[in-house]
């Protein structure tokens, strides 16, 4: 593109000048030379040189040479400088560079303007430093970045650079728009029914290969169970399937498994790998992402509900911006909060971009199979993704609020229906209160007016008392020097809290009471015994409108006013607290003397008691006065009416309308932030400002956020992105997901690099099949269960894994899928299966994560060994692995031994390693030995005294097939020799055999 652009700008004068220098045409193209040179090119293209070329040389060439020597149509002097071959082949004047004697290179002579007939660039000599640069480059052998090479017309499309938008990249299989694909015609009756089979079979036929025969039913059901639910079938289930002669026997198995809740636990975990799910932030404190387990439950639920994949995307990326948003969709946006986060970064602004970058990388690879993150510091070196594309995509996320600790990222997710009902109830309550008050007020006014007249000594002359709003009748210890209380450490008589109780024998001391150092305390009088009783008198001139108790207790306390117990407190506080006690006190308040009495009890640690009483004397407590003088002023009938209304009001007021707010860790936007292209990825080097846009290889229309998209503070941008991703208008989303479904059924994707569909990724082994499958996914309303079934019902899926000599020789990697590949169970499958086989597995679903038993040696690797890991009950410890707490700085040791997913980056394919430390885990860890014991106990209980039956059962449980007599004999022989030669008792010998059964290759591998 740039070449054409320059060509247009090329001036006529320049053309003429160039023609002058290259008047005669000499063509030096020797076949052997070309070949030799291309070999050299490969050798010279090492990273450092390419880097040098990219950063230093390319800009100079592009700026000064490409105009004339890079045009596709016409080349000045027939010289092409846009690729290395062009330099070496040279133009009319000969080769531009001389590899053996670089200093003699024609190009260097020309740019140095030493020969006045050959001065390049013709208009103006290059600055000296650029000449030096090019000289150095030529001396290095003129290394060129193949990705930047531009070839002329004569060259095939497949030589065009892959990191620009051109004919080559727009027609690349991955970026090409979705088109209808028709399955090839196949002559074999068994292999033409399913589209999948037709594709696979025809490729095999082309290669002269035959597909394997079907796997046995025993193998097939085990494969199906693990693939869909991550657990093995029971003996009964295996037997039933083998005996089921109906044509839809396997279909029934698939339907049953897809309907099982275990399915979401297995497939949800595949998704959690992709989004790098973890429950801590990493770094120094590795602080917890509280409530993020709700995202995990959301994912499991989504798979179990067969939520359409496009909706699944919408919810995770924009669940808070959707018109039909609900608790689920908001929880889904926890997606944005899953990554690492440095709570104490050295460079805050850079850290902010790192956070967003992590989101973009994960989004790009997970949903699009594109390594967009590679274009952060410069244009992508391989794929047609520019730096501008990167920052345009990044600006979809720029308004996301910064991550934070604790509940900072918590968003309420209460059900909207509940919320509406709550709001209605609140309105009702207010209306009822208002109506009652309307009837009460005339009565109260009448009463107050009458009272003021009849009882002037109450100082109600104006009808309402005018006192201080906040007055301390009993100051707490923090006020002044505290106040004096009567107190005793010994058990007083039962009536100790009555007003009239004689406390003259009690001790006297200033508040507060306790042992120094108790948090939040102000100790003036020491108290070290277990109990203390306190009394304090005070006076009211008028009855106050409101009473507030201020108290600090360590530990249990009972508070009395005028003989009535008004409050009890359990446990201890670390500071004072204030409680409104007006309602509790109203019926016992009196003018004149009042008595506050407290009993406090403590069991250990610090201890403290103190209380204060704050009153509001600016209002009149009509009910209190009415209770005393109502009959006298209003008459009994009116008083009864008043009391009835009063009671009704109290009842209405006391109905508590609380909407329990549920929270989830989710996304929020807090401000509109601009985005720029950051040169070299550095926030200090801001370049052109950009707005949100999709990668230009996939879409060229600008992004507009419709007016009705913003929701609250959320801009609506992410909804636009999510809609584009899930609309099917980009071809990547469906392909990438169809490939993942294939991957987890066959152990590898049709594209093996399932997070990278770009030019550096793997090519699909069956591109048409992948497109066909992607179309099926979309056509089926993006429902995944349907595609699972489509895949599993094919002959391709049901093939055996056995080797064929011919096929192995021709296609050892099974690229053509002539057999089903064996696979080792995943970390979760191994652990869950062990629990399952031993009868310990607890299938409880959801909720906060659980903690397995982690060996002390592993805890010792944490910087706070004591606080590194939690503790769960045995029942909880036996739950499925997907519920184990995911801590970034301390991965669960059993899972990590078996190649668990890295939690810092999106993980599309897990490694499968075989190392001796795994073996140590399977032989010696507490978990395995506990499990062997449980298994032995289970077997002994089922068939007491029958060792043969026990051995048979152990083998059958672990391999899902009936063992041969020889296999059973081998087990019995081991038990016998352990007993005979090493004097092991029978139970322990059986445990050892069970340990063996849990170590079998056949247990850990699927055919």
């Amino acid at each position: 593109m740039s070449v054409l652009f320059f060509l247009v700008r090329l001036g006529v004068t320049q053309m003429a000048m160039v023609l002058k220098y290259f008047g005669s045409k000499t063509v030096i193209v020797l076949g052997c030379l070309v070949m030799g040179l291309s070999g050299l090119a490969a050798q010279l293209s090492d990273a450092a040189k390419v880097e040098f070329f990219d950063s230093k040389v390319f800009p100079v060439l592009k700026e000064n040479c490409f105009k004339c020597h890079g045009a596709r149509e016409k080349l000045k002097g027939n010289l092409r400088l846009t690729n290395r071959a062009g330099l070496l082949e040279g133009g009319d004047s000969g080769a531009a560079i001389h590899l053996l004697k670089p200093e003699k290179s024609l190009m260097l002579t020309m740019i140095s303007w030493k020969d006045e007939d050959h001065e390049m660039p013709p208009k103006e000599k290059l600055p000296d430093e650029q000449i030096a640069l090019l000289t150095e480059w030529v001396k290095l052998g003129a290394p060129f970045n193949p990705a930047k090479e531009i070839h002329g017309n004569g060259l095939a499309v497949d030589k065009l650079p892959t990191n620009e938008i051109n004919e080559r990249t727009t027609s690349a299989w991955a970026f090409k728009a979705a088109e209808p694909v028709v399955a090839p015609k196949v002559d074999d009756a068994a292999w033409k029914a399913s589209g999948i089979d037709a594709f696979v079979y025809s490729r095999l036929r082309e290669a002269g290969l035959k597909p394997n025969s079907p796997a046995s039913r025993g193998v097939l059901i085990r494969r199906a169970y693990y693939d869909l639910i991550g657990l093995s079938p029971t003996d009964v289930e295996v037997r039933a399937f083998i005996d089921d002669k109906s044509p839809d026997a396997f279909e029934k198995v698939i339907d049953r498994l897809l309907a099982s809740d275990r399915y979401g636990e297995k497939w949800g975990r595949h998704w959690l790998d992709l989004v790098r799910f973890a429950e801590t932030n990493g770094y120094e404190r590795d602080s917890r992402k509280d409530l993020i387990w709700k995202y995990r439950d959301y994912v499991i639920r989504a798979f179990n509900q067969d939520k359409p994949y496009n909706r699944f995307i919408m919810e995770q990326l924009a669940g808070d911006e959707l018109p039909d948003r609900d608790a689920d969709s908001i929880t889904a946006t926890g997606f944005y909060r899953l990554g690492i986060w440095d709570d104490e970064p050295a460079d805050r602004e850079l850290a902010r971009y790192n956070y967003l970058d992590d989101i973009l990388r994960t989004t790009g690879e997970t949903f699009l199979g594109m390594t967009i993150g590679c274009a952060r510091c410069h244009d992508h070196k391989i794929d047609p993704i520019s730096q501008k594309d990167y920052y345009s995509m990044l600006s979809f996320f720029s308004d996301i609020s910064p991550h934070g600790k604790g509940n900072r990222n918590h968003v309420p997710i209460s059900d909207p229906d509940d919320k509406a009902a709550h709001e209605r109830a609140v309105t009702d309550k207010q209306a009822r209160e208002a109506s009652l008050r309307a009837r009460l007020t005339p009565l109260e006014e009448e009463f107050i007016a009458g009272l003021a007249k009849r009882r002037p000594e109450l100082k109600l002359s104006t009808g309402l008392a005018k006192g201080k709003k906040d007055a301390w009748v009993v100051p707490d210890a923090n006020r002044g020097k505290g106040i004096r209380w009567e107190f005793t450490y010994t058990q007083p008589p039962d009536n100790w809290f009555e007003i009239a109780f004689d406390d003259s024998k009690w001790r006297k001391g200033r508040s507060g009471f306790g042992s120094p150092g108790t948090p939040g305390s102000k100790v003036r009088t020491p108290w070290h015994s277990s109990d203390i009783w306190l009394r304090r008198d005070f006076r009211f001139d008028t009855i106050p409108g409101k009473l507030t108790l201020k108290i600090h207790h360590d530990e249990d306390a009972e508070v009395y006013l005028n003989g009535k117990q008004i409050k009890t407190f359990k446990g201890f506080l670390k500071q004072y607290t204030e409680i409104d006690v007006t309602n509790e006190c109203l019926d016992v308040l009196q003018t004149g003397r009042n008595t506050l009495a407290i009993h406090c009890k403590q069991t250990g640690g610090g201890q403290y008691i103190d209380a204060g009483l704050l009153v509001d004397q600016s209002t009149t407590p009509v009910p209190v006065l009415a209770a005393k003088y109502g009959g006298e002023i209003l008459g009994e009938a009116k008083l009864a009416q008043y009391s009835k209304l009063r009671d009704e009001l109290a009842k209405v007021q006391s109905t508590k309308l609380t909407l329990k707010t549920e929270y989830a860790m989710a996304v929020a936007e807090d401000a509109r932030r601009k985005m720029w292209i950051l040169r070299r990825g550095l926030p200090v080097l801001k370049g052109e400002e950009v707005g949100p846009a999709f990668p230009s290889i996939l879409a060229d229309s600008p992004v507009l956020v419709p007016d009705d998209y913003p929701v609250g503070k959320a801009s609506g941008k992410r909804r636009v992105l999510a809609e584009w991703l899930s609309s099917g208008s980009n071809p990547m989303t469906a392909r990438v997901m169809a490939n993942r479904l294939w991957q987890h059924h066959f152990g590898r994707g049709i594209v093996r690099s399932s997070n990278n569909f770009g030019f550096i990724g793997e090519k699909p082994t069956h591109p048409d099949l992948l497109n066909w499958l992607a179309n099926e996914l979309v056509a089926g309303g993006w429902k995944l269960k349907r595609v699972h079934k489509l895949i599993m019902m094919s002959n391709t899926y049901r093939m055996s894994s056995s080797a064929s000599e011919i096929a192995l020789a021709r296609d050892p990697n099974n690229d053509l899928m002539w057999r089903h590949d064996m696979r080792r169970l995943s970390a979760e499958e191994i652990r869950d299966s062990i629990l399952n086989v031993t009868g310990q597995l607890n299938l409880k679903m959801g909720g906060p994560s659980i903690y397995t038993e982690v060996p002390r040696d592993v805890l010792a690797t944490a910087s706070r060994p004591g606080a590194a890991w939690g503790k769960s009950s045995e029942e909880d410890r036996n739950r499925r692995s997907v519920y184990i707490f995911v801590k970034r700085s301390l991965n669960e040791p059993f899972l990590s031994a078996f190649d668990w997913a890295d939690t810092d980056n999106t993980c599309d394919v897990r490694f499968v390693t075989t190392v001796p430390t795994q073996t140590l885990t399977l032989l010696n860890s507490k978990f395995l030995n506990d499990s062997a014991e449980s298994l032995a106990n289970r077997l002994v209980k089922a068939t007491p005294g029958d060792a043969r039956a026990q051995v048979t059962a152990a083998l059958q449980l672990t391999t899902n097939r009936k063992p041969t007599a020889r296999e059973v004999d081998d087990g019995l022989e081991l038990i016998q020799s352990l007993k005979a030669k090493t004097e092991l008792d029978g139970n322990l010998a059986m445990q050892r055999f069970c340990l063996l059964a849990l170590n079998l290759n056949e247990f850990l591998y699927l055919d």
Partner: protein
């Protein structure tokens, strides 16, 4: 796996064999850490094959020769976690003493944020000259100081972060971002393991716990877990997790169990001979069985003479613990372990070199625990002729500020603008000091080096071009020294 073997077909820049790698990944990459070993033992012939089906399998942990001549074969990284103060240890700052207590203008950036002035804390120890080179060393290291002629001091180290979490990741993996492989993993990946009965990359932790971020410091990041560090315990009864048989299983019983298991597994294998992963698993039981012998043997110091133990400080409660780790390191090097990292300090606060409060108390304690053992290690390696091939690295994730952190006390905050590390052995010059910080010690002013340069130096000594040793991940050739590359510190290379 290893992209040092050029494979021109379908390669980017004619250099990497990423396509091969992707095959392995996408194919459910079975790393078969053992296949190479087994192939060597004739256990499986010609069955082991790369996932592309053409090339013979390269066991990721099989011993590999570095592409360039190597000066060092092993690395021992003595990690002074928490950040030792350079001006109180190895970088003599005479001008700083008289300024003690004075408030001066100086730019600092630490845990307490960015500041423009602060109260100077003069160095709390005296410096004396040692060795032929006349190197000034503080009184904190009277024993180590005897070896300055074997050491190259780097006084102008800089790092990207003055905060423990990210700085630890940077020193161990070259990036402040979590998720990258640690240096030991790179070495494991590049060189494999000489001794199949021991891990190739060993980490020893402080008694008080691991460093901040725990296992992230020895993770293999995006590489297979086969390359990650294995935690070894130099004084416990189980040197490696789950090494000991459980439930009183005797060696004899275990042998019987494994023999019988092999019988089952071989029967299973006989119908699946093309699957080398199954064979690898069978073999892994023998290796585990051997490791159960080898690892305790390495930790059994009984065969070491008393004078050697004394050299490492076994006779003193203070130095015994670190001494055991240093001696184990030497014994592991003798047994072919490539990369060993020993932590001085663990947990938080003063349990490591993070002297925010009382500098004297903190550094006296940690230096006192490690001075003798480290000197012993250098001495012992030298005597045995092993120092030439063993690269020793000493240092923390950053240094400390010349000024006090709080209004009172001698505590210094973190400093990543300038700090000291040193290297010895493995083709590193002796008696050399390179670079320096300003007269206060607040920032590197002469020849500043970044952590990347240190990493480049280590790789260079091990026989790699640090800018070539790469691993394809996420569309990029990732390197320990970063995609922009870094030069080794030539000034200290002999």
């Amino acid at each position: 796996m290893n992209n040092m073997n050029d494979k021109p077909r379908n390669t980017f820049c004619g250099r990497t064999s990423r396509r091969e790698f992707l095959h392995q990944v996408g194919g459910g990459f079975t790393s078969l850490a053992l296949t190479g070993m087994m192939a060597r033992d004739g256990f499986i012939r010609n069955q082991a094959m790369a996932a592309d089906g053409n090339t013979p399998w390269a066991n990721p942990l099989a011993q590999k020769n570095p592409p360039l001549p190597a000066k060092a074969k092993n690395v021992i990284f003595l990690f002074m976690y928490g950040g030792p103060s350079h001006m109180d240890t190895f970088e003599y700052k005479p001008e700083l003493y008289p300024l003690d207590g004075k408030t001066i203008d100086v730019k600092t950036f630490g845990r307490g944020g960015k500041k423009n002035k602060g109260r100077v804390v003069g160095p709390k120890w005296q410096f004396k000259q040692y060795g032929q080179c006349g190197k000034y060393v503080s009184d904190l290291f009277p024993n180590l100081a005897q070896h300055v002629d074997k050491i190259s001091f780097l006084h102008s180290m800089t790092a990207d972060s003055p905060i423990h979490g990210s700085a630890m990741l940077m020193m161990n993996s070259g990036s402040v971002l979590s998720g990258r492989p640690s240096m030991g993993s790179w070495v494991n990946y590049g060189l494999g393991s000489v001794n199949e009965n021991l891990p190739g990359y060993v980490v020893m932790l402080d008694r008080t716990g691991g460093p901040i971020s725990g296992a992230k410091n020895w993770t293999s990041g995006y590489m297979p877990a086969a390359y990650q560090g294995v935690v070894m315990n130099a004084s416990g009864s189980t040197p490696i997790l789950d090494l000991k048989n459980a439930r009183n299983m005797t060696r004899e019983q275990q042998r019987m169990l494994i023999d019988k298991l092999n019988k089952y597994n071989n029967r299973h294998l006989s119908e699946r001979v093309d699957n080398s992963a199954l064979a690898a698993r069978i073999s892994s039981y023998e290796l585990a069985y051997n490791m159960q012998m080898s690892a305790p043997e390495a930790v059994d110091f009984d065969s070491e003479p008393e004078h050697v133990k004394k050299l490492y400080g076994f006779d003193n409660d203070r130095t015994q613990d670190f001494g055991r780790k240093c001696l184990l390191a030497r014994r592991l090097v003798e047994r072919g372990v490539r990369y060993i990292q020993i932590y001085s300090g663990g947990n938080h606060n003063d349990a490591n070199w993070d002297a925010h409060g009382d500098l004297e108390k903190n550094h006296n304690y940690h230096a006192g625990n490690t001075d003798k053992p480290i000197a012993g290690l250098l001495e012992d390696l030298k005597q045995r002729g092993m120092l030439d091939e063993t690269l020793i690295i000493w240092g923390g994730e950053f240094g400390r500020q010349p000024t006090a952190e709080y209004a009172k006390g001698t505590g210094r905050d973190h400093n990543s603008y300038g700090f000291t590390m040193w290297m010895a052995g493995g083709g590193i010059k002796g008696g050399v000091s390179v670079g320096k910080t300003d007269e206060l010690g607040s920032a590197a002013v002469e020849k500043p080096f970044h952590v990347k340069h240190l990493h480049a130096t280590v790789l260079k000594q091990l026989g790699f071009d640090p800018n070539e040793l790469s691993y394809f991940y996420r569309g990029l050739d990732q390197r320990l020294v970063g995609v922009e590359g870094a030069e080794p510190i030539h000034e200290i290379i002999a």
